[in-house]
């Protein structure tokens, strides 16, 4: 498995040891961000759509119990089995028991960040069930024994040479082959065999519609359609926040999702499932795993609007220059940094600080999550409730006191200025992280002094 860093700083530092790779990663994602801009700007009503989407989500969250029940009732009437899981363990147990009941040995799985969040694959592996991730990017990271570094582009951190090497090892492609078309063809052939032999398919859910009791899954590759339509059992796993009230709302979200994610007008396949094919089974697992807790946090409820487009990652200047694996949570980037502290405040305490609060994430978000405001708010909670960065806490306390006392503050300014005029070796040492690669400003006369002399 890829290295699990203790903090974002640690991971980012490692990532930045290779500046060329940083440039490459930054450019690849900026390219996606630019495509998103072009797509958004082609829709005059873009901002209105975002507002409507945000309001639909706010409404749904304010009646979530009602819509979940309505969805269950409709889905059951459609012949879909509905399961409820309060946490990751229950989710994994439910999926396992369905698979065991059908004596399933081979599972194909399309992209689902929820199953990543719950750690489903290792759980099924432990019970001798083989799970093959069928999204090409996910298959690449699975073969590499890594985690996705991005929720839409799971292998965005991998170079084609690395993919070529992996495929040579696992899929018998030619040594040194790096052509994306050649490699994709090899994966197609390999995964086709997996689709055909699979006893069950697991998929994620992009939207579940309460009024119709069905759900929509979006892919470009068609792996959901291959998996779910070939296997006798289809299990769809979803967080409870994926509910929307009506079919007509799909129009709003499908217009926003792919444009925000990759700059496409829509994904190649937007697959709507409402009933199992005769003789087959369809299951839905509704998962809480901390979501009702987040729902109860006024300041952070809106994070449940997320439709997992990944736009906040593509635009985040820190994500682009630190890579998805530098984050300590399954979902990296800005959205992960506001979802994760609610799950484990201490483990993920560095994440809300992995930001300059530039606000670009909030402006690209198709469902108007105030991401950077939530980062700010998590920071307050982390500094208050944990022992994160005690040195900073102490210095902020002292500085805050000084700022309440003009005389002391001005004196400190004078002392500081004198220090900065002192010997270079005293100023530029390992303790001064600013000075590692930057000069400090050179104090001249303060404005105070100038003003005193010149005010008349």
């Amino acid at each position: 498995m890829s290295t699990q860093y203790k903090s974002h700083q640690e991971g980012a530092k490692v990532f930045n040891k290779n500046p060329k790779r940083v440039s490459w990663h930054d450019k690849a994602l900026w390219f996606v961000r630019e495509k998103r801009d072009t797509a958004a700007h082609s829709i005059p009503e873009w901002e209105e759509l975002r507002e409507i989407a945000s309001q639909i989500k706010a409404h749904t969250l304010s009646h979530l119990d009602k819509y979940l029940l309505q969805f269950e009732e409709q889905a059951k009437a459609n012949g879909i089995h509905v399961h409820w899981a309060k946490d990751a363990k229950e989710h994994n147990d439910i999926v396992l028991s369905i698979l065991q009941k059908h004596k399933v040995k081979n599972v194909v799985k399309s992209k689902s960040m929820l199953t990543e969040e719950c750690g489903l694959n290792p759980h099924l592996n432990q019970h001798d069930i083989e799970v093959v991730d069928t999204d090409l990017g996910e298959r690449i990271v699975q073969l590499a024994k890594e985690h996705p570094s991005h929720i839409v582009l799971p292998a965005i951190h991998k170079k084609k040479e690395e993919v070529g090497e992996l495929f040579h090892e696992h899929l018998n492609t030619e040594k040194g082959a790096t052509d994306p078309t050649y490699l994709t063809r090899a994966a197609r052939k390999h995964l086709r065999d997996e689709f055909l032999k699979a006893d069950a398919a697991i998929t994620g859910v992009n939207f579940a519609v309460a009024e119709s009791g069905g759900f929509v899954v979006c892919t470009n590759e068609g792996n959901v359609d291959m998996g779910a339509n070939l296997a006798p059992v289809h299990i769809a796993c979803m967080g409870i926040e994926k509910i929307i009230p009506k079919v007509e709302h799909l129009g709003v979200f499908l217009r926003l999702l792919a444009r925000s994610a990759t700059g496409q007008a829509i994904t190649t396949y937007s697959s709507h499932f409402h009933q199992p094919k005769e003789g087959k089974e369809m299951h839905i697992v509704l998962v809480d795993n901390g979501r009702t807790e987040q729902l109860g946090r006024d300041d952070f409820r809106k994070s449940l609007n997320c439709i997992r487009c990944g736009a906040c990652m593509n635009t985040c200047p820190i994500y682009r220059r630190s890579g998805g694996h530098s984050y300590t949570y399954t979902i990296p980037g800005p959205i992960g940094s506001i979802l994760s502290p609610g799950k484990d405040l201490r483990k993920h305490s560095s994440l809300p600080f992995a930001s300059t609060l530039c606000g670009s994430c909030s402006d690209v978000c198709p469902v108007k999550i105030d991401i950077h405001t939530q980062l700010y708010k998590w920071r307050q909670i982390i500094m208050e409730e944990t022992n994160y960065d005690p040195a900073k806490k102490m210095s902020m306390k002292m500085a805050g006191k000084a700022m309440g006392n003009p005389t002391l503050f001005k004196l400190m300014g004078k002392v500081g200025n004198t220090f900065l005029k002192g010997p270079r070796a005293l100023i530029y040492n390992g303790m001064n992280t600013w000075g590692l690669e930057r000069e400090l400003p050179v104090p001249t006369q303060t404005f105070d002094d100038w003003y005193k002399k010149n005010k008349n």
Binding site: A28, S42, P44, E45, Q55, H59, L61, H63, L64, L68, A85, K86, L136, G137, I140, L153, K160, V163, P180, T181, R188, R192, L196, V209, E211, S212, V216, N220, E221, G222, N223, D225, N229, L230, P245, V247, E248, H249, L250, G251, V252, L254, R255, T262, Q264, A265, I266, T268, Y269, S270, S271, F273, Q275, P276, K277, L286, T292, E293, L295, G296
Partner: protein, 188 residues
């Protein structure tokens, strides 16, 4: 207490104030001519578009393509509705299916999966032809959902172009799992 009771109880216990549900307008189209916008969108997606007022052209097209490999279609008039086992489906060179509605803004075509004998026909063949009546084109997704009724189909899908991936260094490759090429036959 079951998980369901617990989850619903948690939500109810919060007593969240109700937020109103907004109305969704059906926004205007993006130009004056939805058909040419639709065809352009398909072109951008790498879709071959054939517009014809002669149904024979479709028959000719299918006859041509038969030379390349096994072809299947649930469209009765094409005379290919022989039953296919799912294993045999994996060797399909081409499937020819019907589309119900085209969406101009994004080039997506709604396919009602239960009209097909096998749901997997939307993705499994190496190549795909979708037959769509000329008049069945709407502007955008809002309009589309006023016509299609996904809940009346166990499975339905908007397809916009050949299957694709850009998971290796963002290089676009057509034919990830599903069709490597898509031809849309527009029946005038």
């Amino acid at each position: 207490m079951t998980a369901k009771d617990k989850i619903l109880g948690n939500i109810k216990g919060l007593g969240l104030p109700s937020k109103s549900l907004p109305l969704v307008p059906i926004f205007d189209g993006l130009s004056d001519d939805k058909h040419s916008f639709f065809f352009d969108a398909l072109g951008t997606l790498g879709v071959e578009v054939i517009i014809s007022d002669n149904r024979d052209h479709l028959h000719q097209l299918v006859e041509e393509r038969k030379k390349e490999g096994p072809v299947y279609s649930p469209i009765e008039e094409l005379g290919l509705t022989n039953t296919l086992g799912e294993t045999a489906m994996s060797d399909l060179h081409l499937s020819v299916i019907e589309g119900q509605l085209g969406v101009a803004e994004n080039g997506a075509i709604w396919v009602a999966g239960d009209d097909l004998e096998h749901r997997a026909l939307t993705a499994i063949a190496s190549h795909l032809i979708i037959v769509l009546p000329y008049q069945k084109v709407v502007w955008n997704m809002h309009e589309a959902y006023t016509y299609i009724k996904p809940q009346e189909n166990g499975y339905g899908v908007f397809i916009s172009g050949p299957s694709k991936t850009a998971d290796i260094e963002q290089s676009l490759v057509k034919g990830a799992h599903g069709a490597k090429s898509l031809t849309v036959f527009i029946q005038k």
